[in-house]
């Protein structure tokens, strides 16, 4: 029992002894470092934290965290995590998934975990490509994307992770980028505080098969005009000198506008806690992943009872003191009769 590191914990307490084996320059390195650095903030000892991952480059994440972990099968991490949450209410459970894992082969499990509001955090590393299988189009690849499996350009329209999550009834939805450590940690902090399912899309660079997909969001000059940082309760403004903002256009859709042209009063004030998901959805539809200004931060954070409420505790209480006489009572339920010897 004495092997648990005494609190307070440090980043080193969450680093496993496994050699990290992502490609050089992979965005996953910065995400891993940010998460390992953030974990001590939770104040939860490593043995009460579980990382469940699917298949793909992101799936390796579990091996690098010195917590409990399971590297499961393709797309099924939410099912494993849901089963774990059904049995245990004393753990902090994190899912790490990718765009193929969460939005293609495992999309069904993703939407059902979200609609149940299972108490888990879901981190979706979206690099818009299949990396581990060496470069096929993914469900988030843009139309026209030339890959090994789409030599003539992809004809499949991409799926937007946040729109899907909001449509599935997610209570916490956020988006961040791999190279923005501060933004990433802020989103993780908010996710950790959320008691239901927290869904976080992390836009992540694949230097080998989709290099530079998010350069406009990570390179210093471009980032200022392309990152629309959402701050709850604040007017939505961005740009080098906050000269840009988001307004509701005459047709009801959201649009980017120059503040000096429309006036600060017309700016939308972000409200992540609004029950109605319409604004969050409109923000999710604002901008395209690959180019131009894109909202980042917490889109939606609505408090709602997590899946099953206190059921785990209630069932645990029901089991206290059960013994052979309880089994005998179960077995003898209903009409019985005795045959004498």
């Amino acid at each position: 029992m004495s092997t648990a590191p005494p609190l307070p914990l440090t980043k080193a307490d969450f680093q496993s002894d496994q050699e990290t084996r992502w490609c050089p320059g992979c965005g996953d390195y910065s995400v891993l470092a940010a998460i390992q650095g953030f974990m001590p903030e939770l104040g939860i000892p490593p043995e009460r934290i579980v990382f469940v991952t699917g298949i793909g480059c992101a799936g390796r994440f579990a091996y690098y965290m010195d917590t409990y972990g399971m590297h499961a099968i393709h797309g099924r991490a939410p099912t494993i995590a849901t089963g774990l949450a059904a049995a245990r209410d004393d753990l902090s459970v994190w899912i790490v998934s990718g765009d193929g894992d969460a939005l293609s082969i495992g999309a069904n499990h993703l939407i059902h975990a979200l609609r149940r509001n299972v108490p888990v955090k879901i981190l979706l590393f979206n690099n818009r490509i299949y990396g581990l299988t060496k470069g096929q189009a993914s469900p988030t690849s843009e139309v026209g994307k030339v890959t090994k499996s789409t030599p003539g350009g992809s004809i499949d329209p991409p799926l937007d992770a946040l729109s899907l999550a909001l449509g599935a009834g997610a209570t916490f939805v956020a988006r961040t980028v791999d190279r923005d450590k501060q933004g990433l940690v802020e989103v993780l902090r908010a996710a950790a505080e959320h008691r239901g399912t927290a869904f976080v899309e992390v836009l992540q660079d694949c230097p080998v098969f989709n290099d530079g997909a998010f350069d406009h969001l990570t390179q210093k000059d471009a980032a200022a005009v392309n990152r629309i940082l959402l701050i709850d309760g604040q007017p939505i403004r961005f740009g080098l000198d906050h000269e840009l903002g988001v307004i509701r256009d005459d047709d009801g859709t959201l649009a980017v506008a120059r503040v000096d042209e429309v006036g600060a009063d017309r700016l939308i004030v972000h409200d992540a806690t609004c029950e109605d998901p319409s604004l969050a959805f409109a923000l999710a539809r604002l901008g395209v992943l690959g180019a131009g200004p894109l909202p980042l931060g917490v889109f939606r954070a609505v408090d709602a009872p997590p899946w099953g409420g206190d059921l785990v505790a209630e069932l645990r209480a029901a089991r206290v003191g059960l013994g052979d006489e309880d089994i005998d009572a179960l077995l003898h339920a209903g009409d019985t009769w005795t045959i004498a010897g």
Binding site: M1, S2, T3, A4, S16, Q18, P45, E47, R48, I49, T53, A62, Y63, M65, D66, T67, Y68, G69, M70, H71, A72, I73, R76, T79, I80, A81, T82, G83, L84, A86, A87, R88, D90, L91, N108, H109, H112, L311, V312, E314, L315, R316, R319, L322, G323, D324, E325, D326, I327, D328, L330, L331, H332, G334, D335, W337, T338, I339, A340, G341
Partner: protein, 628 residues
Amino acid sequence: MATTEFPAVEEAAPARNGQVRVERRERVIVRFAGDSGDGMQLAGGRFTDATAVFGNDLATLPSFPAEIRAPAGSLAGVSSFQIHFAERDIATPGDTPNVLVAMNPAALRANVPQLERGATIIVNEDAFTTRNLQKAAYDSSPLEDDSLDAFQVKRVPMTTLVGRAVEALEGATTRDAQRARNLFALGLVSWLYDRPTEVTERWIEGKFADKPTVRDVNLAAFKAGWSFGETSELIDVRYEVLPARDVPPGVYRNVNGTTTTALGLLAASVRSGLPLVLSAYPITPASDLLHDLSTRQSVGVRTIQAEDEIAAAGMALGAAFGGALGVTATSGPGLDLKTETIGLAVALELPMVIVDVQRAGPSTGMPTKTEQSDLLAALYGRHGESPVPIVAASTPGQCFDAAYEAVRIAVRYRTPVILLTDLFLANGSEPWRIPQAASLPAIDPAFAQAPSNGAAFLPYARNADGARPWAIPGTPGLTHRIGGLEKQDVTGEISYDPVNHARMTALRAAKVAGIEVPDVVVDHEDGAELLVLGWGSSEGALRAGVRRVRERGRKVARAHVHHLNPLPANLGEVLRAYRRVLLPEMNSGQLLKVLRAEYLVDIHGFSRVEGRPLFAAEMEQAILEMLP
């Protein structure tokens, strides 16, 4: 013509106190048949409970269409419930009914071919309208021609009689009366066999406690059926089937295999201290297990209706990772979908139980018909070298032992276990001698604790059983990562080393092969040269078939296998001890193939894939043909 005309109700004879002949029967087979909406399963189920309480031995066979409401009155919509009860130990739900209750022409047409000459048919003659006759493809009424001359036909205007019985009840509608016809039929057959009425009346009163009108209508219909038997001269013989005497002493209860499977899992949960988490996706005929366990929160059971079969398996495995008894239940097509997760469980070496209630396949097949054709899928239906222990239940009552055994193996050996039952076991019922909880073997989860000497935790170090530690999250000092990638022996780290892979493949195989399972027990007779071997739900038919052959003075031995992987250690020796071996299966010879390959013994198969249990008579015949 054998048809007995029923006199007009107004002219019914007064009670004939004692004038009805009573004949004793050693055993009787009754089949209730009607439209899907006629409540035949309910009538059969109530008759079964009364029969169980009366003390007969019994076995039942419900049969219903996959469609919830096939067109009313059509042949496709016929639903039936057969019960075999006797004053001695019996083994099967019976081959051919002595009494058929047919609620409409379609039910008559669908079931008459299975009757033997002289059988009694009780029809609801009100249902023999031109329209209903057409729906059943009758050109003319079989009640009016000579087509039923071989049978004793009793024409009863059930609809009319129920209508009269309830017309005085306040608030009762014609529709209420229509829906109570099954209770009339039940009352009549209960009279015929002198079943205790209190059991059924108590059930009606409890079931409809908050619907007084429905309760009164059903009670009236039931009593009207009984009184009709008593007062009309239509039926002049009653039958007496005395309580069974040759059954072992003990406390008994009537159960189907679904209930016993649930109870086996519950008992294992309580005895092991492991919380039971059952995740399942609705599928016939496995859904009833989900329904049953969903009512067991008082003993700490958590059930999850998953979004699909794959999720159901994943949730059970996730619960197991967290230190619960993770169980998923399904039927054929669902087993296909769970295979990848079962493979993961093999690699993770975590306990998990997969209940497969087999039904006729391939694909959707016949969802409401039984078969035992998933054995090879259970044994081999995964990619890679992926050994999984298999336990197969043999009777509705034995499902309890099989479920408990599946959990015992899963927990002790840290492995997924497939429990094979089937539709016949899940839905069929029999009296069950209730075991004592204290007599059940112990199941010790033996969760891992941190090494006291500060040494590193080794997640894939093995004990004498070849099992690895079950180290659940929350345990300090044991943080570790597991996954589907091949692992280094002992440390559990990712490994692509070819020699290590060969070693891990061998270790996983050896662990399963080395599971301690009881020897197969042979019911031997001196001089027997033929062994009749079986597995799964064919046990009853084989037991009955062997008994009939022995009653003819012929020698034959019988054995039944409950562990399909690993096979009992003495099985090869047993097979070689007989000149001939007969292995009947409700598939095309799946265990036959396995045993021939395993033991190089020339076993003879007997195959039936008709979506029904084996018959005692066909087993008798098959055995006789194998005897010199």
